[in-house]
């Protein structure tokens, strides 16, 4: 029995980070209808920034987040303005090419700037853990999990209760009607894209002390986020969160009982099975992937 609880805890902690990465991706898709293939590179960038602030300035990752997250937010604004906005009316393939090209560009830029060495933030508390009865709980993983969930809830509250949140939701539902009632849709796009980047920036800060970073780290992690986004229902924040947590738990149990090399196999089986019965994912709307004509 103990082992099941310990496995579930490990899985939830990892899943919390998957969820935070996925939420930014699904938010951008839900509002702009753009799949941002460079999302993983923003994660890599946030991890690198955290590493260098820790290494060069001695800033603790949690302090560094006060700088890293705003930087990512601004980069999101810039990316939206210079690249993404120009493709919004273009066919999907153009959007895919643009964000995919950005992903490759950033990977290679990181290679030039930082080389392909693995860099690890070696915070003193990185491996600190406490015991509750027979269970071992890593402080850092627990804090990362709690922060992920808190940020996701904060985002949901923002979208539900603030005026700006309502405007974002209105744009997501129908961009033409949103424009008709006076919402500055272009600004909403920029803001949403920036929030998506800031969220993945937060995920990067939380991941940096747990996991070494090199230019490909984000690309490796982003596959899980894509699965979580589709499984949760494209554009659904609650869905992406639930799916992220579920994938973490499935990975944990399958690698204990079936072996580490089986975990991707198992969650993809679950993924295919769920989509077979519910093609829109947990909370997806039918037709969410169709772009409405502005």
């Amino acid at each position: 029995m103990e082992i099941y609880v310990q496995l579930a805890l490990s899985g939830l902690f990892v899943g919390g980070i998957y969820a935070l990465i996925s939420v930014g991706l699904t938010l951008v898709f839900g509002v702009l209808r753009v799949v941002n293939f460079a999302h993983g590179e923003y994660l890599t960038l946030a991890m690198f920034l955290t590493f260098f602030m820790y290494h060069l300035l001695g800033l603790d990752p949690f302090v560094a987040s006060l700088v890293v997250v705003p930087i990512l937010f601004v980069l999101g604004l810039v990316t939206e303005r210079l690249l993404v906005r120009r493709t919004l009316e273009a066919p999907h393939v153009v959007q895919v090419f643009v964000t995919f090209a950005l992903s490759l560009f950033l990977q290679n830029l990181f290679l030039v700037l930082f080389t392909s060495d693995f860099r690890a933030v070696r915070a003193e508390y990185a491996t600190a853990a406490f015991e509750i009865g027979p269970f071992y709980i890593s402080w850092l993983r627990m804090v990362a999990f709690a922060a992920s969930i808190a940020l996701t809830v904060a985002l949901a509250v923002f979208l539900k209760y603030s005026y700006m949140g309502a405007a974002i939701r209105a744009t997501a539902q129908d961009r033409r009607s949103a424009r008709l009632v006076g919402i500055n849709v272009d600004r909403i796009y920029a803001l949403t894209f920036a929030i998506g980047c800031a969220l993945v920036g937060a995920a990067g800060v939380l991941l940096a002390p747990l996991y070494p970073v090199n230019p490909y780290t984000g690309a490796d992690l982003i596959l899980v986020a894509f699965v979580a986004v589709v499984l949760g229902g494209m554009g659904s924040i609650a869905g992406a969160t639930l799916a992220g947590l579920l994938i973490g738990v499935i990975e944990s149990f399958s690698s204990y009982f079936l072996g580490g090399e089986m975990k991707q196999f198992v969650y993809f089986i679950v993924f295919i099975a769920i989509l077979a019965f519910r093609p829109v994912g947990f909370f997806g709307r039918k037709g969410a992937e169709v772009m409405d004509v502005t």
């Binding site: 082992i3 496995l7 290679n108 491996t127 071992y136 780290t217 944990s252 690698s255 580490g260 090399e261």
Partner: protein, 420 residues
């Protein structure tokens, strides 16, 4: 239907003729000017840490030989080919062969690159000299002019169980036959081949293998594996890992307050400086079976000792760090190829180089890592051997075999985390 017009076709034809001409003329002038060697290594991308370190080692060997006057008055020119993927390795090998007239290649630091670079070299009628690719089937493909001076997967995996049986069992106060080990490995061909060799050797020595577990090196969570290890309580863990997964496993074992009595990595992650930087003093006491990092200077010939001093001086002067396993291996690759094969060959063509390689009979201790050179019919160096190093005071120190031993093992069984 698209028709190729004459205007479109002519430049292609002209380009082809130029390429063919330069390839032919380079052969004609191959006996003059510098001796050209093409180095195909992953210099960018995921494998570039090892690729660059390997290449730097080769480069130091080339510089040293050139500064000593070259080979019979001819200088060596080393060309870079960035084989960051197998596809890139193919095009770079062909580019160097066609455009630069390179007839001698070396590489490659990963098996994926080495397998295709050697194949392209052979197809071009060139000579290929491998250092670090360990795939077991590398020398099983019936190629004539492809040689591996370094280890195969077995050479990397076997020393771990051997060291457990010969040295660690005594320190753990156990009969070798009563020892139980857990073998874990990342699930690419590298991890599978090396860990399988370790398991075969362990079984031959009567050691019980309580667990053989594979996982993806890209994983972000190894805590289920740690839980499994904790309930199995092996006497030693033998692990084939890359860098980030090696770091992750150590950190998660620490988090879950689990430590095995002994931990032996079988490369590649455990013998890198990044590994030590990431886990700090907790690295002390961890073993790594790998290429020999450093031979015992007393076991080397005086000439080799001079090479060793020169290599250490030049490397540290140029890169400001102490060279590790990949760098010294690169140096051995360069010295063995240039001095002992090209230097003894009757001509620069692949056939003459092949004869020189097969005739080479270099005793152990002739290279800075303690190796010698004698090839079997398939082109595998039978005098390459793996060794075991231990992290002591955050430096890698050779502890096995006897010829390479610089210090006795310490911290067995492993002390608690934070007390190493």
């Amino acid at each position: 239907m698209t028709r190729i017009t004459r205007r479109q076709f002519m430049p292609v034809l002209a380009g082809g003729m130029v390429a063919a001409h330069s390839a032919l003329s380079s052969r004609v002038i191959a006996d003059e000017g510098p001796i050209k060697i093409g180095g195909i290594f992953p210099l960018t991308g995921a494998g570039s840490v090892f690729g660059n370190q390997n290449f730097q080692g080769v480069e130091i060997a080339v510089d040293l030989i050139n500064d000593r006057g070259g080979l019979n008055g001819r200088k060596i020119a080393l060309f870079k080919g960035d084989g960051h993927t197998p596809q890139a390795a193919i095009s770079e090998t062909n580019r160097l062969a066609a455009r630069e007239g390179v007839r001698i290649f070396t590489g490659s630091s990963t098996s994926a690159v080495g397998m295709v670079a050697s194949q392209e070299a052979e197809r071009n009628g060139a000579f290929y000299w491998e250092g670090m690719a360990v795939a077991n089937n590398f020398t099983e493909r019936g190629f004539k002019n492809v040689f591996r001076v370094g280890l195969d997967a077995g050479g990397l995996g076997r020393p771990a169980p051997r060291y457990i049986a010969e040295a660690l069992s005594g320190l753990l106060k156990q009969d070798p036959k009563a020892i139980r080990i857990a073998v874990i490995a990342e699930d690419s061909a590298f991890g599978v081949d090396v860990s399988s060799a370790a398991i075969a050797e362990a079984k031959a020595l009567g050691i019980t293998v309580a667990l053989h577990e594979l996982y993806s090196a890209k994983t972000t969570d190894l805590s289920p594996l740690v839980l499994k290890l904790r309930s199995l309580k092996p006497d030693a863990i033998v692990a084939t890992q890359f860098i980030n997964d090696a770091v992750l496993l150590q950190r998660q074992m620490k988090e879950m307050r689990y430590r095995p009595p002994a931990f032996i990595g079988t490369s590649a992650g455990h013998s890198t400086l990044s590994f030590a930087e990431a886990i700090g003093d907790d690295v002390n006491g961890i073993f790594s079976s790998s290429y020999p990092n450093d031979a015992n200077p007393d076991a080397l010939s005086p000439a080799t000792k001079a090479d060793r001093d020169e290599f250490l001086k030049r490397y540290q002067g140029k890169y400001k760090v102490v060279p590790a396993v990949q760098e010294s291996l690169g140096f051995v690759v360069g010295m063995s190829l240039i001095r002992d094969v090209i230097g003894n060959a009757k001509g620069g063509e692949a056939g003459a180089l092949r004869e020189a390689a097969l005739a080479a009979d270099v005793p152990n201790g002739a290279y800075i890592n303690g190796w010698g050179m004698k090839f079997d019919a398939k082109g595998q160096n039978t005098r390459a051997f793996g060794s075991v190093v231990q992290w002591q005071a955050r430096r890698m120190v050779s502890v096995f075999p006897e010829a390479n031993k610089l210090a006795d093992p310490i911290l067995v069984p492993l002390p608690a985390w934070g007390a190493r």
